[in-house]
Assembly symmetry: C2
Homo-oligomer: 409 residues x 2
């Protein structure tokens, strides 16, 4: 239904981007843990960062760099295994060092490099390993390096997450690519989720910032895995303009298409993150319809998607719609509980379980068949307006507890 076509690859799918992913020994298991993205040309850049008062050192540095350059960047250096959060002055120095080392290797200014970190909190970075890893990453940058980079940003993720879309803009074929990580500590607004988006579209700074905000509000900010908003959440976008279109502004004919494609990229990444939530066995999409306002719709969708009781019932494939209505009720949204209808939906069919705010008789066997699927949709029709919203999450399993009971060791 969109204007775009899926394409293989991720951050190096757009023209003019190279990437690398290497193992530097930050992770104890020897897996890849340093990713580098590099554009052959200077990019317009924008970022959205965690709302947590406790922000990791690299986020503060990125905000400083983007302010200094007025929204320009040419490379992003990322490490997994250590979040460089709650690390005091040493942490701030280490983030600067990562940018400086990368800049030196690539012949850039420090502020043209953005930095991201994810992993354990409160432990200082093993800078010797990081330094060697940055050198190695810079030496192995390649057009084919996108998937290695996507692997290198994983923590408890079970699969790497990449997407690329191509579409027509002013008669030119353009591409948006992305990689993301995140499976725990994920909650609006922004979640440790990291997402890095690249595009060969030419776009002005303010238009890029606005487009990113629109995309993130409808996708990553509607994503929750466990209700914990990380210290490190970041979405960064780099647009290098290699496609050669005349730079987009908010008034350009192509701006809506660009924003729509960027939103689709973010939605795809958000769904992949939710589906790979720590311990997840199911992906849940909560659709709210006919809400009084967009804010009410979003509050209800996020509240239901955040409910431990809804998510454990989903894990148990239990059609406990009462918990859905309960979570809608405490969302803070304004609606009339006596009008609400609730439906369960999946590839196996659709089933109404509540009308006028109360239970109606339904076929438990059909409910069980619907909930047996891997991708489930709960539809909450408030019948109290026209606004709608979607939130994304996963079920809540034994394995979530297992993964998180002993993460540090």
């Amino acid at each position: 239904m969109g204007i775009w076509i899926r394409k293989e690859g991720g951050v190096t799918a757009p023209e003019g981007f190279l990437a690398a992913g290497v193992g530097a020994g930050i992770k104890k298991n020897g897996k890849k843990d340093i990713a580098l993205i590099y554009s052959e040309k200077t990019c317009t850049a924008a970022g959205v960062f965690t709302t947590n008062l406790v922000k990791a050192a690299p986020l503060l540095l990125d905000m400083e760099h983007l302010a200094k350059t007025g929204g320009k960047a040419q490379a992003v250096i990322v490490n997994s295994g250590n979040a460089n959060a709650c690390t005091g002055e040493q942490g701030a120095k280490d983030a600067v060092a990562m940018a400086e080392l990368t800049a030196a290797k690539l012949g850039l200014k420090r502020e043209e490099v953005l930095v991201s970190s994810t992993g354990v909190i409160g432990v200082n970075m093993p800078m010797e390993k990081v330094t060697a890893g940055i050198s190695l990453a810079a030496e192995t940058l390649a057009r084919s390096g996108g998937s290695a980079a996507a692997q290198a940003i994983m923590t408890t993720d079970t699969v790497p997450k990449e997407v690329a879309l191509t579409f027509q803009l002013e008669g030119k074929e353009v591409t948006i690519g992305a990689m993301a990580k995140g499976s725990g500590m994920i909650h609006p607004n922004m979640a440790t989720m990291l997402c890095f988006i690249t595009t060969d579209v030419a776009v002005e700074g303010e238009a890029l910032r606005q487009s990113l905000k629109t995309a993130v509000d409808a996708t990553f900010n509607m994503l929750t895995v466990d209700g914990d908003t990380s210290t490190n959440d970041s979405v960064l976008v780099l647009a290098n303009g290699v496609a050669g279109n005349s730079p987009l502004t908010q008034n350009s004919a192509g701006y809506a298409d660009f924003t729509s494609a960027l939103t689709e990229v973010c939605r795809e990444m958000a769904k992949k993150i939710a589906g790979d939530g720590e311990g997840a066995t199911k992906l849940l999409e909560v659709q709210v319809k006919n809400a009084p306002t967009l804010q009410d719709a979003r509050l209800v969708a996020k509240s239901v998607a955040s409910s431990n009781l809804v998510k454990t019932a989903l894990f148990g494939e239990d059609a406990n719609w009462g918990r859905i209505l309960c979570a809608a009720g405490y969302s803070g949204a304004n609606f009339d509980p006596a009008k609400v209808e609730i439906y369960l939906k999946s590839a196996a069919g659709e089933l109404q379980t509540a009308a006028q705010g109360a239970g109606i008789p339904f076929d438990e066997d059909q409910a069980a068949a619907i909930l047996k699927e891997k991708e489930i949709i709960f539809i909450i029709d408030l019948r109290d307006g026209e606004a709608e919203a979607c939130a994304y999450t996963c079920d809540f399993s034994y394995d979530y507890v297992k993964i998180n009971a002993d993460y540090r060791t």
Copy 2:
């Protein structure tokens, strides 16, 4: 340190109260499921109810009754096994029927009876069983019936919860007693937690309401098990004045002592509920010190106590203080992250793990010894003011998921 002395018993510990707990077959397992509290004299009554927009039928009825009588009541009828929530018009009729049946049995007016329900949501009440249960309960009312009543309000609770305190007021010995239930779907503000408080103190309506609000704000509203605010949460207090003191007003000399004792009763119940949280293996008290304001202190304490990541780490006995600071950071409270100190404490000792917002070296063996205990305290010193607050919760275990994955069936 208080002015009170612990006493055996619960809601029938104060003079002039009778209670009963019987099995009516509402619960499939045949356990007790109807509780009745009755005072020989008319009581001043007050209630605090869930903030959920979706309120169960009995809560709406109680609010109506308390408004009609100007805060008087003489009996409380409670059932467990069915929450009578999301049950439409029939649910409202059933709540009224419960009050009417009880009133008829006890020779009261309908509005002198308060009604509570807890259990599964969205299923109509089995009124034939409830009716028989109310009759049986009325016939078995006794001074010794307090613990049977406490058993009859349990759902996934593993132990009944009762407390009683006695203290001196105007030279008279007075008593406050209580019973509570609740182990899942518990989150500020108000959690399904139900708490029923009785006292032989004479107290005016407005003073009782204010005293209850003060007590609940510092205790039940600082209690969280799983972040879900129930449709049924209620705290009800009945004061029958049998002790013969001159009725307390907010200006009485004894008002502060009464509020302090009432708060202690609520705190004891809140801690028992947290310690018996679904699947809990540990009780966690989150103490916030030196916050800029009381609201900041409470926001931080509640946020840390609500964090799934903090609670799973506690289950794993993992000294992951970074998650504590992270949860403080997204609480919405105003403080300087760079000043924060964090301490872990239990009967095994006390250990500082963070200073100036960053990790400090600590003895992992000592941390393990502290976290091995059943009752754990996290102290978060914001060093940014003088306000303090406490929140209560439990750890997050495999069994929480197990209990909630398949609750309906």
